[in-house]
Amino acid sequence: MSEVDWFPLLLSLRVAAIATLITTVVGVSGAYVLARFTFPGRGLIEAIASLPIVLPPTVLGYYLLVSIGRNSPLGRGYEALFGRQLVFTWQAAVVAAAIASLPYCLRTATAAISAIDAGYEEAARVAGLHGTRLAFVVTLPMAGRGIIAGISLAFARALGDFGTTIMVAGNIPGRTQTMPIAVYDRVQAFDYATAGVLAAVLAGVAIVVLLGVRRLERTAL
């Protein structure tokens, strides 16, 4: 067993944290819109946003690679803005993890918001609340447990992503090699001892996070 390199763990935590932040903002506001407004194309949006659940991660990664690659409009825009390419950087890993985990947050939060008796919002609207204040004072707190559950699922999914990440961020040790990829990499090199340590740490971190979230869930309301 070679000396264990902890870079992948730190990278994974950073990628998953930023991805979860993005997922939370996009997923929860998206869930609010999907649960509380009817508009043409809503079903299609829901279906597309759920694709990451049903597509193989590598297929998702392929589409993502095509969409943010150096020859794509998004990739070119990023390059013009930041002076470097997006693919095969740790930021690309964030994009991969965010998109792969979005539906878990979006779907859970949509279900939680839909389950609230509309009477609470109606009573609050009559009382003078509207817009974002209505959302932050009434709807989101009442769906709090479901939203927290969705965010924790998204974090777990972001932390564990392999296929999508390796497609768009690659496997560059010390730069884009996240934990799951490092485990795969070590196994490929027959270094089962290191792989075992990394796998156990990843599993441990996931359990600790989920336990913490459960605690939070219980005290949320």
Partner: protein, 227 residues
């Protein structure tokens, strides 16, 4: 001027046709269930939109289908109590009432909320969550919240339906008192003749979606309706 309603609305097979001007004081909207009472209240509050007609209050137009006017719910300054209290479970009783006070100053909101808790005899529960209150106490708080925004109109939709008879009687007295003190025209929905007799200044009749006849209490309680 008060509230003037002249609307037609349809929900599935149900047709609502309401034309009346609300008298001052407390008007009981009376009729069997399924007569369109709740429907009408939802239209007045702006929670639903009429298919045809106008709703106005004190010169302000709430709805005008021809003129494409639909004033948003939060902007109507109406106080409403539903059959269920619908108090926010994650906020204290005081916060629930303070949220409805239309003032930007925090202290003013709290002071006014406190005053209303006093008036509805719920000061003791100010720091509690609604889940720790009895049904009657919760409806008292809902009444306080309905008055918090200094409403121009009160809509009470069978607010005591889920409560026991002794509690209902107590709350009737409270409603009567609150309405008299606030001087706000009030529409109180019920199908209970006791409630009607105890509360009504006048009676607005609802019958299979047709709402418009206004009578005094004696006529409403009379032996045989002449219709």
């Amino acid at each position: 001027m008060s509230l003037t309603v002249d609307v037609r609305a349809r929900v599935g097979e149900f047709h609502l046709d309401a034309r009346f001007t609300l008298p001052p004081g407390l008007t009981v909207l009376f009729g069997p269930s399924g007569a369109g009472k709740t429907r009408l209240l939802r239209l007045i509050a702006g929670l639903d939109t009429p298919r045809e007609g106008r709703i106005g209050l004190d010169g302000a137009v709430f709805d005008d289908v021809v003129g494409k006017v639909h004033r948003p719910v939060h902007d109507r300054r109406i106080g409403m109590v539903f059959q269920q209290p619908y108090l926010l479970p994650h906020r204290t009783v005081l916060a629930n009432v303070a949220l409805a006070v239309r003032d930007t100053d925090r202290t003013t909101r709290r002071d006014r909320a406190h005053a209303l808790l006093e008036r509805t005899d719920t000061t003791a529960f100010a720091a509690r969550r609604p889940g720790q209150l009895s049904g009657g106490q919760r409806q008292r708080v809902a009444l306080a919240r309905a008055l918090a925004g200094e409403p121009r109109l009160l809509l009470l939709d069978e607010p005591f339906n889920a409560l026991d008879h002794p509690v209902r009687r107590q709350l009737r007295g409270l409603v009567r008192d609150l309405v008299d003190r606030a001087g706000v025209p009030t529409l109180f929905v019920t199908h209970d003749t006791d409630e009607l007799a105890a509360l009504a200044d006048s009676v607005l009749h609802a019958d299979q979606g047709r709402i418009g006849d206004i009578t005094d209490v004696a006529t409403a309680l009379g032996p045989v309706p002449d219709r």
